[in-house]
Symmetry: C2
Subunit: 392 residues, 2 copies
């Protein structure tokens, strides 16, 4: 289905993901002829993308020299949420050398938010994390035209529509930049270093402030014609349900999401239905998903019921998507993944009951391994891929 990537890209990715390797092993693993491999590696050494790393252990014949991804490479990975900024600066192996996380309201607009991103990256430089960046990857909580590097009609990001995010970052840091949807970068992160490692076809479902789905098919993210594939939060699941922020009624995320769960928890506490939630409301004016998770862990019946009802809603939508896309894994991430086993059990139950046996015969439904780091991890992968492509 997919053509072979260029040799230099395959070499750089292997060194990024697997660490120092001898030239001999590199040639074997990438099935490149020795002259071709040596020429490519020499070129990448000259471009300071690859560095010599001493001698390899003998394989019987002449000893081969190790090469590694150049130790000076640095990537910036940014994950913008509805209410937070996460930043990592990584080396060429995508190991973090600096990390920052702080609350921020995406509705402050692109200038204020990107200004703050710049300040945090300047701080990282002052802290000695990098001298110059080789690429920046950024995820935003809304649809993105991946080709143009701009958000497109993002519902919860006023002022960001078509704002030239990629151009601004490229100009500011003098390096390539890549912009993607936040759920897509989480899927990419989870595939690179998480539970979906080396899985070609899977869905990453983020349940947080909103609900979205990263679609990984045939080894790559599928973004849709307008960049809004996976926008499953506004699928109608109950024609008589509550009104959603989008104006329609009964959308999935109007029934189950961080905001919906806080609303339902508050109602249950006030109605006196849930001792666990009522107790938590004594010292607070609002409740959160964490309160519901803690209540459920204590065995509070209403908390467990709220989580199961949410899982049933999400499971119903996922059953439909499983029938449609026939993936080999579903990964559940985002803030509400903290609801853990109760949520997962209900989702699994609905998906397995409602989809055809052939599609669910071997379909793991699992929690994200990287959790809060999935986004920045994926942004770093995208940034490095971009830098590697441009190294030709």
């Amino acid at each position: 289905m997919f053509g072979a990537d260029a040799p230099h890209l395959r070499i750089l990715r292997l060194l990024r993901d697997d660490g120092p390797v001898s030239r001999a092993e590199l040639g074997d693993r990438l099935e490149l002829t020795r002259p071709r491999l040596l020429a490519e590696v020499d070129r990448l050494v000259a471009a300071e993308m690859v560095a010599e790393a001493g001698m390899a252990a003998s394989r019987g014949g002449r000893r081969s020299t190790l090469v590694e991804i150049h130790p000076r490479l640095r990537f910036a990975a940014v994950d913008l949420g509805a209410s937070s900024i996460d930043i990592e600066v990584t080396n060429g192996r995508l190991e973090p050398v600096a990390a920052y996380r702080e609350p921020a309201d995406i509705r402050s607009g692109p200038k204020a938010i990107l200004q703050r991103v710049s300040e945090l990256l300047a701080k990282a430089r002052t802290d000695g994390a990098y001298q110059r960046l080789d690429a920046v990857g950024i995820g935003v909580p809304g649809p993105v035209s991946f080709r143009d590097g701009v958000p497109v009609s993002p519902p919860i990001m006023p002022g960001w529509d078509r704002y030239p995010v990629r151009e601004v970052l490229t100009r500011e840091h003098g390096c390539p930049a890549v912009v993607d949807n936040d759920v897509n970068i989480m899927a990419i992160g989870e595939r690179h270093g998480g539970v979906a490692h080396s899985i070609d076809d899977f869905l990453f479902v983020k349940i947080g402030t909103g609900i979205g789905c990263g679609i990984h098919l045939g080894g790559t993210v599928y973004r849709g014609v307008d960049g809004c594939a996976g926008d499953i939060g506004h699928i109608q699941v109950d024609a008589n349900g509550p009104v959603c922020s989008c104006g329609n009624t009964g959308c999935l995320e109007a029934l189950f999401s961080g905001a919906a769960l806080a609303r339902d928890a508050l109602a249950a506490a006030r109605a006196g239905d849930s001792p666990a939630l009522a107790e938590r409301l004594v010292d607070a004016t609002e409740l959160s998903a964490k309160d519901v998770a803690d209540g459920a862990a204590e065995g509070d019946v209403v908390c467990i019921k709220l989580i199961r009802e949410g899982g049933r809603r999400v499971g119903g939508v996922l059953a439909t998507l499983v029938s449609f896309a026939n993936p080999s894994m579903i990964v559940i991430g985002g803030g509400l993944a903290q609801l853990g086993h109760v949520l997962l059990a209900e989702i699994r139950s609905v998906v397995y009951r409602r989809s055809l046996p052939l599609a669910t015969g071997n379909l793991p439904v699992v929690l994200s391994e990287l959790q809060g780091r999935a986004g920045v991890s994926g942004a770093a992968v995208l940034a490095s891929d971009m830098a590697f492509e441009q190294a030709s």
Copy 2:
């Protein structure tokens, strides 16, 4: 996203789709250097895949010779439905040189059905349609392992599970064979010569005896991990709906499909609700989708209501799939496409109302152009691609 195909494949496809072309124009359009192009064409002429076709009109300089797909090439295209066999034998341009259609019950099992396919192809040979076949493409009404060339747990095809369809056809005809799901070949046909021409991302929704969806993403059919992607007929749309043949309740195709519509029409006729249907039942023991379509055309209120209710059900599922996949077109085909404008209007209305504006801003929902020929057309495309790939 996709790597470039091999030059010989691109040459053969262009000659198949666009007819005789001069060597000079071929080189320009495929962006191949002249020595490379001439060597490839010479090789294809020697392999009898390409033939000389006289001189081209002058382009000012030396006159170039035309080449065409070899006139002796023949492909067999077979579309097995739940209750029919369609066969076309085509030339290298995929123009039919023989066509047969007859009723057949897929439940007769693979031996009887493939025996009948062989007899029809033998008849085509006797009729002079071909001397030998270069490839056979076949679609079956159930999930298929495309890689293995076998049906996999097909619900309405008893006896076909893992039957070596590809192997049997290859042995019988001494040429490559390719097996796919019937809705996938319809999608391929519609993209090659129908309303989805040159569209990379679209959904082909077949509404007939059952309901299925061909998923065309990034220029190729997406088949899913187990070959059952697009199996949308068993998505639950009403937890209180009728029991489906699969054992679940309220599946889409239990509520709207050829069988469901016939059932509802019969009930309406017997209850005296529909003059048009009651009149048709006088001379018959059962009713069909055609009766409902004819009744609706006469303005019968119940017939129109049945079609609109079905459209609403299908539209609800498609709205979900649009939010998920963000395609650039939806094509409606299969027997119930004869319900025409009333059905289409209702589907459109629901899809546009329920999906995000960004995903539906420019989303045509249209009827199949090829109709009954979509399947065999796609099977011929698959067969020719297979033959071309093996010509390397």
